[in-house]
Symmetry: C2
Subunit: 412 residues, 2 copies
């Protein structure tokens, strides 16, 4: 008998029919003998409806404390509906708001952080054979004010509850059936991963794979809560995200290929190659609240050097202005910008124990005559910047080169 | 500086515009230097929308505990919106759910009763100059379960808070500008009462005058909370409901004329005039869960008597069946039913100190040749049953006879 925390998002509980389906699913687990805690979000659309009301009342400036009082009602409705749907099916169930559980948070309204969870009530209910339905996304501060955790907060609630209860697994139900080796829209032979580590998942997520919120993966990693991503309305084992790196002897070197088109590249050419030049260039950029991702400084030539970095495309125009000002101050030769780039990354903990992974990546790209513009590496990731038009080609080539392709599909 | 509890119902907070109007009104009171606690209901329609969802999920059998979790969100949204609207106007305000105040109730979900109110938090906020906005209709039981008080519960919350805080007045805002001497649709010269006692108000309410919920009037009387009925969106002093009977020397004998068409009359004729006969007749009626209002037993004649009583019209058919069974068991002569009746009552604490009020009533009706079918009296009320078609005539005649008519209206 396992203790499982199951989290269903707004789309999974978006209609009366879907709530009934979720109840059926929970019932099956319960009948298998598992202890179940369910975390739910507001029905899809409800949070936005409430925020709209608040904006109408306040000319777009709702007070954060009162906004939390209001939007927390979205999840409160869902927990009651799901508990009713379970009880109607003969499954003993009880619902709790964040305050009722006592999910204690700090008082940063609309983006609070969980400090502590009181598990007394939930444990007593589980011991009495009940399914416990908990409102995601919300908590209460020391003074008893209602707080919310911000976007993706229901995932965090699920993971935090699983950690507090030392649950065997935290299952995140979503609209995909797991984490894939890469985006199946780009590589039809992409495969669902049985397993991936927290570290890899974080790299995949930060590189644009949107299955899970980064914060909840970090949280799960920190407390070593096994996390499983599953499809809400299809059967299947999903993808398990754990600490464990070593269980399988046949673990692939690379777990997945991530990519994004969200970045732009800026180059400042012919700057004096003196100590502190990197700070002189990047200081004003971060001073303008622009985040820099990859950075490359060329080998100096005639006492001058070139300096290249990437920013989010939304920040491109601002960054260009800042950089042109810096260039004229430093007497640089020129500033060049390029938005037609893409970033492709290979991610895998297997890299740690396998040499030559990067060169195998470069070889695969060279075979397709794709020019690499920038390179950046971490312990479990190699990223390259290439011309955007080669993105799909690069991802497919790498997917094949690292033996991630699924066997040719049977016609069913 | 007074401490005032103001209660606004679902219609008064039914739209964003109306919530803004309520905020304006509260702001004016606050600027006058009064301490204000506002109790609000759910936006009109919201509670029914939620109940519909629950019914859809459960095939019309929602679990009471979970229903309370859900429908209590209606008021929770309104308190946040009103607090936001006040803050936007520069009025310091804070919202509380029933649980946050700690309005402690029993655990009778969907019809809970208030046991105790913790005033610590509210007093601290008032002392800090804040308007406190409290969710009506809801509370929390000893175990921390969310409860609701049933229909009209927001009035009860208002009165209970006023009692706990020893407020100077509890103002109930509604869609009428006060309590009238009788229904102005029947008597255009009906007048708004400046003042009425709790007892009178209870009689008026139980006789069909729907301005206030009986339960909240009882509560206000018990704790001697001055209650004022006012119009939400019109200026005016409304009607004050208090204990005080004696303040004015010129208090009228009769405060109002109440009436209803909700009853039906049943007569069993020729029953043996023996001890216990009333119980033999009415026992089976109340055994069928039918409430009996007025009862008259005729003087016996030839050792038999006639027995007449009234029930709600909805219970008429059931009562008739029960009575016919009883009649055949008792060997009664016949059973007669009549649904074309109306009840008219004069209500006033002035009756206590004035003799001859009843005969003045009968005289007024006799002048209009209206036949009285039944009479029932209490300390502050005389009720008569008459043929329904004379109802309006009777009410107008009594309104004039007891000098309740307003001066002839000026053309404005």
């Amino acid at each position: 008998m396992a203790l499982i925390v199951q989290k269903f998002g707004g789309t999974s509980v978006g209609t009366v029919e879907r709530i009934q389906q979720v109840a059926e699913k929970v019932k099956k687990f319960r009948e298998n003998g598992d202890d179940i805690v369910v975390v739910v979000s507001a029905m899809s659309g409800e949070t936005n409806r409430l925020i709209d009301l608040a904006k109408q009342i306040t000319d777009n400036q709702p007070v954060a404390r009162e906004l939390d009082v209001m939007i927390s009602t979205g999840e409160q409705v869902t927990i009651a509906l799901l508990a009713m749907a379970l009880i109607k099916r003969g499954v003993e169930a009880v619902s709790y708001t964040g305050n009722q559980v006592r999910i204690l948070t700090d008082n940063a309204h609309t983006k609070a952080r969980i400090l502590q969870i009181d598990d007394t009530r939930i444990r007593a209910d589980l011991a009495a054979g009940k399914v416990v339905v908990v409102a995601g996304f919300q908590g209460v501060d020391e003074q008893g004010n209602i707080t919310t955790l911000g976007r993706g907060g229901s995932d965090t609630t699920g993971v935090a509850l699983a950690a507090a209860l030392k649950a065997d697994e935290c299952q995140i139900y979503t609209d995909v059936d797991g984490v894939y080796t890469t985006d199946p829209r780009v590589v039809p032979r992409a495969q669902r991963l049985e397993k991936i580590t927290f570290e890899e998942m974080l790299e995949m997520a930060s590189l644009g794979s949107k299955v899970l919120q980064i914060r909840s993966v970090e949280f799960a990693g920190k407390y070593n809560v096994p996390l499983r991503v599953l499809h809400s309305f299809q059967e299947g084992p999903g993808t398990l995200i754990t600490l464990d790196e070593e269980e399988s002897m046949e673990q692939p070197i690379i777990s997945g290929i991530a990519f994004n088109r969200d970045e732009a590249k800026l180059t400042i050419r012919g700057v004096p190659d003196v100590p502190g030049i990197a700070f002189k260039i990047l200081g004003p950029v971060s001073g303008a609240n622009i985040e820099v991702d990859m950075i490359v400084q060329n080998v100096a030539h005639d006492n001058t050097t070139d300096f290249t970095f990437t920013v989010h495309r939304n920040d491109y125009q601002n960054a260009l202005q800042v950089l042109e000002k810096t260039a004229s101050e430093l007497g640089a030769r020129e500033v060049i910008g390029d938005t037609n780039i893409a970033k492709v990354s290979i991610v895998g903990v297997g890299m740690r124990s396998h040499a030559g992974v990067a060169s195998r990546m470069f070889e695969a790209l060279a075979k397709e005559t794709i020019n690499i513009q920038m390179i950046s590496t971490s312990e479990i990731k190699v990223s390259v910047v290439i011309e955007e038009k080669y993105l799909e080609l690069a991802v497919r080539a790498l997917h094949t080169a690292f033996e991630l392709d699924a066997p040719a599909k049977r016609t069913e």
